[in-house]
């Protein structure tokens, strides 16, 4: 890098000889503008080459996998790939066409082939996403058709199970015969298609996702507000104390920050349970009777308390670094002009903390919206967030397309917030400790 052409400043320094002729050139006679542009291009390339390995790494191990996963939210060929003939019939006919002779023949052939290839479970699972109870219909029918099936197929299949005549089932199969579908997104907002293909709300007792999204955002907002209420006085104290003492107190903020998330969650489980320390102290103080111990965990209260504690440092640190830069003489000037301490705080001090407040609040909110571990452990039924639902679909119901659709919506929300954060705060202003 000792090469002079690399460094724009060095390039300018070598132009002294060119000035006399009136046209700026470098020492070896090239036009300066071109030499400068070239050296800048080269410097840009060098800088980019340093970043390239990491960028490639992140793209391959992070961005592309998430993209692939999101693809499942609108692409599922579980039915169409394994049931080709009946899918072709669906493609030929119009929506709402009742199944005819040809359709029943295609269905019977596909069911037989799929049962032979042992993919009937995949097909059943795909239909089961939209119409619960269908998986067993497919697998049991598959077992029977493998033993042989005689035409007329419509009667034969309906003898195996009369559900095969259900128009809702045929409508669902028609939906599933096209691998690209918006149905998982519809389901993620508690909507589904009925037999005629119209979009309508699902039954009231099955409406969970909109409520969960609402709860996730509401609880995140509550937690953000709580971290603000608790974090503001602390940040202010740390920012106004002399450096030596504030550094000491800062350890009390940084220690939780460095402590394992699971450790902090565990300690809240231990403290808040009915036979735990907090209830013991309340009973001992006589605030509550021994028989009415509070249920503070395995519900929303538990989620709120534990998450507020865990996310509090993310509010304190940005607030603190902004408050450190506030010049105390403004408040003094306000006081000397007759403002009360409250007015001076409200009109002079607080507005200057807003950049830190914005940074902290957005960070806490973004992190809270995607929280999984803590709600899973301390949330009980009423403290679960949308992340827990994604995990459930991934590991328990194995409805991966549904998990992907929910993840896509959550990710979109987080990315919008992240974009806003970058606009307002700038990612390069993110600080840790």
């Amino acid at each position: 890098m000792a090469n002079a052409a690399l460094d724009p400043h060095a390039a300018i320094a070598t132009t002294a000889s060119g000035v006399e002729t009136g046209r700026l050139t470098t020492a070896d006679g090239k036009p300066l503008a071109r030499a400068l542009a070239r050296s800048q291009r080269r410097a840009r390339r060098r800088a980019f080459l340093l970043v390239l390995p990491l960028l490639a790494f992140i793209l391959i191990t992070f961005v592309v996998p998430i993209g692939q996963m999101l693809q499942r939210s609108f692409y599922n060929d579980g039915f169409s790939a394994n049931m080709p003939e009946v899918s072709a019939w669906f493609a030929r006919t119009e929506r709402g066409t009742p199944p005819d002779e040809e359709a029943w023949t295609a269905l019977a052939a596909d069911l037989t082939a799929s049962a032979e290839a042992r993919t009937i479970g995949v097909v059943g699972t795909r239909i089961n996403y939209d119409l619960s109870g269908s998986r067993s219909l497919f697998t049991s029918t598959g077992r029977q058709v493998r033993r042989g099936i005689e035409p007329p197929y419509d009667r034969a299949l309906q003898e195996i199970d009369e559900k095969w005549a259900d128009p809702q089932l045929w409508s669902t199969m028609r939906e599933a015969s096209i691998p690209v579908t918006a149905n998982f997104y519809l389901a993620a907002v508690d909507r589904q298609r009925d037999a005629e293909g119209n979009i309508r709300q699902v039954e009231e007792r099955q409406q969970v996702y909109v409520m969960l999204f609402g709860r996730t955002f509401w609880l995140s907002a509550v937690i953000t507000a709580l971290t603000f209420v608790l974090g503001f006085p602390i940040a202010h104290l740390l920012a106004t104390l002399p450096m030596r003492r504030s550094n000491l107190l800062m350890i009390l903020v940084l220690l939780p920050f460095w402590t394992s998330l699971l450790v902090r969650t565990t300690s809240w489980m231990v403290l808040l349970q009915q036979q735990g320390v907090v209830n013991d102290i309340l009973v001992w103080l006589g605030i509550i009777g021994g028989g009415q111990r509070l249920q503070m965990i395995y519900n929303q209260t538990g989620t709120i308390i534990a998450m507020t504690h865990i996310l509090l440092p993310f509010m304190i640190l940005p607030l603190y670094s902004v408050m450190r830069t506030i010049n105390p003489s403004y408040v003094r000037a306000a006081r000397s002009l007759g403002a009360t301490s409250w007015t001076a705080f409200r009109r002079i001090y607080f507005p200057q903390t807003l950049p830190g407040l914005g940074a902290g609040a957005m960070l806490v909110f973004i992190l809270a919206v995607g929280y999984y571990i803590t709600p899973a452990l301390v949330g009980g039924a009423s403290g679960q967030l949308i992340s827990n639902m994604i995990a459930m679909h991934m590991t328990d119901t194995l409805n991966w397309s549904m998990a992907a659709a929910l993840a896509a919506i959550l990710l979109a929300a987080v990315l919008v917030l992240y974009w806003l954060y970058d606009r307002l705060v700038g990612v390069d202003n993110l600080k840790l400790g």
Binding site: F48, V51, V263, Q275, V277, H309
Partner: protein, 316 residues
């Protein structure tokens, strides 16, 4: 901060109330972490202080939960001497989990710190193109909800070559899920934002003319980097590496999704323990982890002070 001399009695009262509020919030921050330490020495299988513990009776305390940590999974916990320890080293579940956590943590830290430091050097050059957008992408593993990252990795790591089918190829290659390499790569991805943030923060105060001075004195780029740049940014690099290590050491979601039974780490073992039947042995692990984080925090603080001193940056 003292009360100004012109403060009214009401303001004085408020000031002391304010200090009391701050003390309460500090208590809220730190008490949950401290309280589990004595509880982990409880002789009874309870999660609260017994009367004996409160009266500081030595009989109320014991090391039984620490012992149960060590013996959990051992074939012959009643053996003595060398046989006991070699059994513990080979079979104890928590010992194995600790080994796995350290192996995965160290290697993922090396990957994250190496790539992250290089990238941070590039990102802090003024001529870096698309700086903002690239920075936003590199920080995103910290922002994207872990469950989404883990889900994406779950599919990708079960068949990493599926990607190539886009180009019309259909190669077969092994699974990354259930291997050490897979978990290490996943944790490196999650640790990278922390390295980027800390190292770029160190480079903000870095005087580029030092590099030019070295070059003008005849040092080649490599000498310049290792003799001038590196010693100055080293504290930032080390604290970035510690952040990356802690991220890996504490990570459970990605491990749950992509690790196999062989890659049982401490957090995963804790997760299982908490979900099934939480016992005070978990508190013993938690205590050890708290001690560990105190050590790390101390290291990071010392590094930060050293960095400020050698760069001549006065504390704000």
């Amino acid at each position: 901060m003292a009360v100004p001399t012109y403060a009214s009695p009401l303001e004085r009262a408020w000031h002391y109330a304010y200090l009391a509020i701050c003390a309460a919030i500090f208590f809220f921050l730190i008490a949950p972490i401290i309280v589990i330490i004595p509880l982990s020495f409880n002789v009874e299988p309870y999660f609260t202080f017994t009367d004996k513990m409160l009266s500081l009776d030595a009989d109320g305390y014991s090391l039984r939960w620490y012992r149960s940590l060590l013996t959990f999974g051992m074939q012959n916990p009643d053996a003595t001497g060398a046989a006991f320890w070699s059994d513990a080293w080979a079979n104890a579940k928590w010992v194995n989990a600790a080994k796995n956590s350290i192996i995965i943590g160290v290697f993922s830290t090396i990957v994250a710190t190496g790539l992250g430091t290089l990238a941070a050097l590039g990102l802090s050059r003024p001529e870096m193109p698309f700086r903002r957008a690239i920075m936003a992408i590199l920080i995103s593993p910290m922002i994207v909800p872990l469950i989404i990252t883990a889900t994406g990795m779950f599919f990708f790591y079960s068949n990493p070559c599926e990607l190539l089918t886009m180009f019309g190829l259909s190669p077969e290659c092994g699974r990354l899920a259930g291997t050490y390499l897979g978990v290490i790569l996943a944790h490196a991805t999650l640790g990278i934002p922390f390295v980027i943030i800390t190292v770029t923060a160190t480079l903000v105060g870095f005087d580029q003319s030092l590099n030019r001075a070295a070059a003008s004195l005849g040092a080649n780029p490599r000498t310049t980097f290792f003799r001038v740049t590196m010693p100055l940014i080293l504290p930032g690099v080390i604290s970035g590496a510690l952040f990356a290590f802690v991220t890996s050491f504490d990570e459970v979601v990605a491990v749950l999704f992509i690790a196999g039974p062989d890659q049982q780490t401490i957090p995963r073992q804790m997760w299982n323990g908490i979900r099934e039947q939480i016992s005070p042995a978990i508190l013993a692990v938690a205590t050890l982890l708290v001690v560990f984080s105190i050590l790390l925090l101390t290291t990071v603080e010392l590094l930060r002070r050293r960095s400020e001193r050698i760069r001549g940056v006065t504390p704000r």
